[in-house]
Symmetry: C2
Subunit: 310 residues, 2 copies
C-alpha cells in the first residue's frame, strides 16, 4: 500500500508508524493461520511499568508451525544508561520504540525457520530511525529456494534504492553470524539499522521501505512453507533439526542485539524468548558424515555467498 | 591428601598445581564410571595455537549420565586485551591458566545436575590466584538433600577458615543467578575467585582448600546419584527436566564467565559447550500448576536460603 494513503494529513509520525505496525501483526497472524490450517494464535497483552506495552501472539503445535510468535510492542519512557549504550545514543532523556518481530519454528525439518523484524526508534534529542531485517534458516539448504528468497528481497529493495540490497545483504551476513562456530545462522537475507532522515531519504521513504518488508513477509514465508510442507523426513532429519536449533539458541543468547536490548530494557521475558525453538539438543562434537546432506548444508553456512547467482 | 606430600621440594608452583589437577580429572572420571556402570569416558586431546591445550573427556548415554564432561586444561601465552579485561588485570604480558571443570547431566530428572570447577591463574606481573566452586541444580529440590550438600561443603570450608563457607555460599547465590528470570540456577553451593596470597593465607593454604574441593567432588556426587537413581519418574518429570535444562542453557550462554572467557580466549568450542544439556525445550510461558512439585521447586529457586537450617 502506498504510505501516503495511510494518512490524510500527510504527517508521518510515531502514532501512524505504530498503528501501521499493529496492522502488520494482524495481517501476518491471519495469513500464517490460514496456511497452518490447524492452530490459531493466542494473544497476551502486556504492559511495561516504565511506559508502554505490547501484544505477544503465539502459535504452538500447529500442523506446520511447532512454535511461532508475532510480537508487537510500543514502549517508551526514560532512557536508561544501559539502553543508551546499546542504542549508541547520548545518555539521558527519553526514548520511544515500536516494532513487530516474528519468528517461526516449523515442526518439519524440511521447512526453514524464518525471522522478520521491523522497528522504529525515537530519542528525545530528535534522532529517529528505522531498523529491521528478514533472514532464513533452512535446516537443509536448498540453493534454488535460497536464490528465490534473495531475489524477492532484492526486488523489494530495488524499488527503493539500488544500494539497499547489496548493503543490507552484507549487513545480514555479518550480523547473523555465529562467531564461535565460524558459521552463519542460515542463508542470510537483509538486515539494516539506523535508517534515519538524510538529504537523500525522507522519513516517508524509509517507512515505505520498512513497511514493504513487513507486508511481503507472509507471502514470502507461506510460499516457502507450501514448497516444502509435503517433503518426507525421518528421525535423522529431526535429529539434525535439533542440532541446528541449538545453533539458533547460541546465536540468540550470545549475539543477538534485540535479545540483549530486551533483557537490558526489562522487557517481558517470555515475549523476548518466544524466539527460542521448542525442542533442541546439544550432542558433544556432532559432525555430519562426509558428503551427506547435512555436510552439504554446513558447507553453505558461509558469509558472502552470492545466492542470486549461485 | 596432604598437599605437602605432593612435593618433595616443598615448592608449590604451576607445574605441581597443574599435575595435581590432571590427577583430579583421572580420579573423577574413574569414580563416575564405576557409579554409572555402563558407559566410559572418551578422551580428546586438544592443543591451542597460542600455547597449551587440554584433555576433554565425555561420557554420553550412560546408565545414569546422559551427557557429562570432565575437562582438564593448561593454557598459556600472550594476554589479549579482551582476556585482560575479563580477568580484570592490567593489559599486556602473558598468562597461565590451568583447571578442571566438570558438568554432569543425568538422564533421570530425579538425579540433580552438578557442576564443579577448580582453576589456577598466573599473570606475568606476578599476580596468582585460585578460583572455583561447586553447585547443584536439582530438577526437583529435596530440602534434606540440599541440606546435606551444603553441610558437606561447610565442613570442607571450615577445615580451612570459618569465613569461607558463609562468604563463598553467598558468592554462589549471587553468581549462579538468572537475572532475567529472577531465579537461582539451583540450590547453589560455593563459588570463589581471586583467592590469592595474603598475610593470612599462603599459596599452600589456598591450594590445599581448592584441591580438597576437587577430591571431595566424586564422593558428593555419587552419594547424590545413589540416593536418587531408583526414584521412578514419567513423561511429566521429563518435560519439567527439559524446561529446567533450558534455564541452564540461558545461564551458561548469557551470564557464565567461564563460558565468556572460553569464547574470548579462542578456546575449543566443543569443550566449552560440553556444559550444555543434551535434550532441552523452550515452551512459551510454561507455568507449573499451583501446589505441584514443580511449583514447590520454583518457590525454592531463591537467593539467601539457609539450606543447613532450612
Amino acid at each position: 500500500m502506498d504510505i501516503k494513503e495511510k494518512t490524510n494529513t500527510g504527517i508521518i509520525d510515531k502514532v501512524l508508524i505504530s498503528r501501521t505496525f499493529k496492522c502488520l501483526q494482524d495481517d501476518i497472524c491471519s495469513e500464517i493461520e490460514v496456511c497452518d490450517g490447524k492452530e490459531i494464535f493466542k494473544e497476551e497483552i502486556w504492559t511495561r511499568d516504565e511506559g508502554g506495552g505490547g501484544s505477544t501472539r503465539i502459535i504452538q503445535n500447529g500442523k506446520i508451525i511447532e512454535k511461532g510468535g508475532v510480537n508487537f510492542s510500543e514502549v517508551y519512557g526514560p532512557l536508561s544508561d544501559k539502553m543508551a549504550d546499546v542504542l549508541q545514543v547520548n545518555r539521558g532523556g527519553t526514548f520511544y520504540a515500536t516494532g513487530v518481530s516474528v519468528i517461526m519454528h516449523p515442526g518439519s525439518p524440511m521447512v526453514p525457520i524464518i525471522h522478520m523484524n521491523v522497528r522504529y526508534f525515537e530519542v528525545s534529542n530528535g534522532e529517529k530511525w528505522f531498523g529491521g531485517g528478514i533472514d532464513l534458516t533452512p535446516i537443509y539448504i536448498d540453493g534454488r529456494q535460497a536464490k528465490m528468497f534473495h531475489q524477492t528481497l532484492k526486488s523489494l529493495c530495488d524499488q527503493h534504492h539500488p544500494s539497499y540490497y547489496p548493503a543490507f545483504k552484507k549487513w545480514a551476513d555479518d550480523y547473523f553470524y555465529i562467531k564461535h562456530r565460524n558459521e552463519t545462522r542460515g542463508v542470510g537475507g537483509i538486515f539494516f539499522d539506523r535508517l534515519g532522515i538524510t538529504e537523500e531519504f525522507s522519513l516517508e521513504d524509509r517507512f515505505s521501505f520498512v513497511n514493504g518488508i513487513g507486508e511481503a513477509f507472509p507471502r514470502i514465508y507461506t510460499t516457502l512453507i507450501n514448497q516444502n510442507r509435503h517433503v518426507p523426513y525421518g528421525e535423522a532429519e529431526l535429529k539434525w533439526q535439533r542440532v541446528r536449533r541449538g545453533r539458533y539458541v547460541e546465536f540468540n543468547l550470545v549475539y543477538d542485539r534485540g535479545t540483549k536490548f530486551g533483557l537490558d530494557s526489562g522487557g517481558r521475558i517470555e515475549s523476548i524468548f518466544m524466539s527460542l525453538p521448542p525442542e533442541v539438543s546439544w550432542t558433544y562434537n556432532f559432525q555430519p558424515r562426509p558428503n551427506s546432506k547435512e555436510a552439504e548444508t554446513m558447507a553453505m553456512l558461509k558469509k558472502d555467498i552470492d545466492w542470486i547467482n549461485h
